[in-house]
């Protein structure tokens, strides 16, 4: 034989590599083909609520104790099939309560009014205007929508948890195990999650799409107000212009879209 074993192996290796590249080349060659007939189209629901940057104002003056927050948390966790896992390490939460010193650790005051010191504060994803989690995600599995909502694409998440390290508000939870056995009452209209993906509050994107306000807002008896931050006529803007509000860790420049009236 004239060929050496080395050159034989080299050629074989390159050929194998070439075969492996074929699907990649196909992908590049035919990006437009989606198998969609031209006459079909996709559109938004006409009733869908629209905004440039959705925002929330939480009037903490209307809360007295944890009992006031419970129905709000319950409403959210129930419709989104958020599991209640007792194991502290595997806990999953979209909206929950924290004391002032934990909700606002950088703003902690020494002599807080008694009402505020032990008042439970609702905390959730801030849907930041410049979200660090979106910057960190290596697959665009978490992204900022046109209406300002920071959303998760659970189909795409690889579970690297970089977003969780990047979030300065601890708003994200990771499915350390299959969540399904821990969902007491499944909302059949909403999907659950699978193990190995990150999840968090979605500002009820699925409800806005059909013209409904977020579940927590509906359950809050007016303590939570939701609206477009960019619309001067919106309810949230009116509240913001009439009241002094604070946001969590404002100094970090993430631009949280959840405001608190203290």
């Amino acid at each position: 034989m004239k060929k050496s074993r080395r050159s034989f192996l080299q050629i074989a290796g390159v050929s194998a590599l070439g075969l492996g590249l074929k699907p990649v080349a196909d992908l590049v060659a035919a990006p437009a083909e989606h198998g969609e007939a031209p006459a079909e189209r996709v559109l938004k629901n006409e009733a869908a609520l629209k905004a440039k940057q959705w925002a929330m104002v939480i009037d903490t003056r209307m809360f007295e104790s944890a009992a006031d927050l419970e129905p709000i948390i319950e409403a959210c966790h129930k419709i989104h099939n958020v599991p209640s896992i007792d194991h502290p390490r595997h806990e999953i939460k979209w909206i929950w309560e924290e004391e002032f010193k934990h909700a606002f650790p950088t703003q902690e005051l020494r002599f807080l009014p008694e009402r505020i010191e032990h008042l439970p504060f609702l905390v959730l994803c801030n849907h930041c205007e410049d979200p660090p989690c979106v910057r960190a995600c290596p697959t665009k599995a978490t992204f900022k929508r046109e209406d300002g909502i920071v959303l998760m694409d659970f189909h795409r998440c690889i579970g690297c948890r970089f977003c969780m390290a990047a979030c300065p508000y601890g708003s994200r939870s990771f499915n350390f195990r299959d969540p399904r056995p821990f969902i007491k009452e499944t909302n059949l209209k909403f999907p659950t999650r699978m193990k190995g993906v990150v999840e968090k509050c979605n500002f009820c994107a699925e409800r806005l799409a059909v013209g409904q306000m977020p579940a927590c807002v509906e359950a809050s008896n007016g303590a939570l107000t939701f609206g477009d931050l960019e619309d001067p006529e919106s309810d949230v803007r009116k509240l913001l212009s009439e009241n002094f509000t604070i946001r969590r860790k404002q100094a970090l420049g993430t631009g949280p879209a959840v405001y608190y009236i203290i």
Binding site: M1, K2, K3, S4, R5, R6, F8, H34, G35, E36, A37, A39, E40, R41, V42, L43, K44, N45, A48, F143, R145, E146, D147, L151, D153, F154, H155, T186, L188, K189, P191, T192, R193, M194, A205, A209
Partner: protein
């Protein structure tokens, strides 16, 4: 460096390769001509009454995975949730709430074919497979 120019044990290598190829292709030629007939998806009464899906039957058979993939991207990433068919009918793009609403017989409609072609789509890890049935 004369020795590197020689294909040592060339015969053995080629023989080995032939055996390898035969082994790898074994399932193909062994099963050739003995294939079990492909199962036909069963329709529920509701699906039968509806007559047409969002696309002709053959297209649904061959392209439902691409369609579902487009649906999920449109819904999750673009917030477009309505699918309008060529003849103007509108559907909410939702596996659990639209597809499975008609095709509520997952075992006979989805699983039989999926088992036949040995695919295991993980849709059902998150999406509720049968809202109507489980709610009973």
């Amino acid at each position: 460096m004369n020795n590197t120019r020689t294909f040592y044990d060339g015969g053995k290598v080629i023989t080995g390769l032939v055996i390898f190829v035969v082994l790898v292709t074994f399932p193909f030629w062994y099963n050739h001509g003995k294939a079990a007939p492909a199962p036909e998806p069963q329709l529920t009464e509701k699906a039968k009454a509806e007559k047409a899906c969002i696309r002709p039957k053959n297209e649904m058979k061959s392209a439902h995975m691409q369609i579902l993939n487009n649906w999920r991207n449109n819904v999750v990433r673009n917030a477009d949730r309505i699918h309008e068919t060529a003849d103007g009918k509108r559907f909410e793009m939702s596996l659990s709430n639209t597809c499975v609403d008609c095709h509520s017989n997952k075992a006979d409609f989805c699983d039989r074919c999926h088992n036949y072609v040995a695919v295991n789509p993980y849709c059902w890890n998150c999406h509720i497979d049968n809202p109507k049935e489980t709610s009973k």
